[in-house]
Symmetry: C2
DNA sequence: CCAAAATGATACTAAATCGTATCAAATCGG
DNA sequence: CCGATTTGATACGATTTAGTATCATTTTGG
């Protein structure tokens, strides 16, 4: 019986290297287009590691996505705003959120999640819960403080995020100053509705 | 030299059947997960058709996507609004647009376009031009008639479309009455900003 | 009605790839 | 320091699949 869930120091290091390498490859080409041999060649070690530690290719993919979902928890969760004006508050929240969403890594992640939502449906649902939904709920509490209607939060989120993210996903990202102007427009509009 | 670009009646029929069958399969499983043999088995005829009429699997995929892009030209392009109130106008436009975007076929199409944007980058750009961009421009002319700022068009489009479409893509579509309420909210907010 | 051309069925090649098995090397515990 | 266990390298089997080639069948056009 050589079947043990033992974790040697070396084994852990390999596991780490595998996840990181696999992350880059999966983000770059998608689940199907990356072969197990390719991952091993780039990470070192051998296929034995993958199949003993993650079961199979899908297991590794799941581990990769879970790790990234952690990393991409809505950045607004940690941000604590003092008592600020609604306009200023929404600007800060918006800037913070877009700052993370527009990183190349997050753009690739979002694309990958949508792409694999046929094969792995739960993945997209989970991402949506810990990402957009959470961000919306932060917006909601901020807006409700100024007695705005709760549905404004979703509307604000979508008009803030969609255009810049879509542009980035197409490989035609907006210039930083255009993003800033976009934030201003979105904030102005939602405030006019409070 | 039996290399001719001849189009027999039977040949055209097969071409048609191939495109339609391939459309369903590609929409359902994505480019990579559909094999050429699978398409042929479902469409009738034989692989010869695909490789003589479309060159290779990619050629067939391109034909499928081009056909669908035609089909999914922004439905607002044909719609001619008489002289109506801005509120009524935006409601009609919004309802018409969502009516098309929320069909299962369009949801699958959008998912497929994003999914294959790594392998086929031009595809997403083209879809964006003939779809969202065009819709936004119709919104823009409607809004400018009431002397609203042009950037409101993009904001309105995104807050109208994003939430219902994302929900549908996750397999958790909004109820029809919720969609209608959503349209109302979006229209109300954009009007408050004109 | 018949030859020429197009279409259809199918066998086949070559390559990729997942997962396993086998054996060698490094590492750990006592 | 040594035996047991974990990790590494690699060969291998089995399967899938894109694209080609070959030959039979149907259609077309004169």
């Amino acid at each position: 019986m050589s079947e043990r869930a033992t974790l040697t120091a070396r084994g852990l290091a390999r596991q780490e290297a595998l996840i990181e390498t696999a992350t880059d490859l999966f983000l770059g080409k998608g689940f199907d287009a990356v072969s197990v041999d390719e991952i091993v060649a780039a990470a070192g070690g051998s296929k034995t590691n993958i199949y003993r530690q993650f079961g199979n290719k899908t297991g590794l993919f799941t581990a990769v996505v879970e790790r990234m979902s952690q990393e991409f928890l809505s950045p607004l969760d940690q941000l604590v705003l003092g008592p600020v004006d609604l306009e200023i508050g929404l600007q800060i929240l918006g800037r913070t959120l877009l700052g993370q969403l527009l990183t190349p890594k997050h753009i690739a992640f979002q694309r990958m999640v949508i792409a694999s939502s046929v094969q792995f449906p739960d993945l997209m649902t989970h991402w949506y819960e810990v990402g957009p939904r959470r961000s919306q709920s932060i917006f909601r509490s901020q807006i409700e403080k100024s007695s705005g209607a709760p549905e404004l939060a979703v509307l604000f989120h979508d008009m803030l995020v969609t255009e810049p993210v879509t542009r980035a996903m197409m490989g035609r990202p907006m210039a930083a100053e255009d993003v800033e102007a976009h934030i201003q427009s979105a904030v102005r509009l939602v405030i006019s509705g409070v």
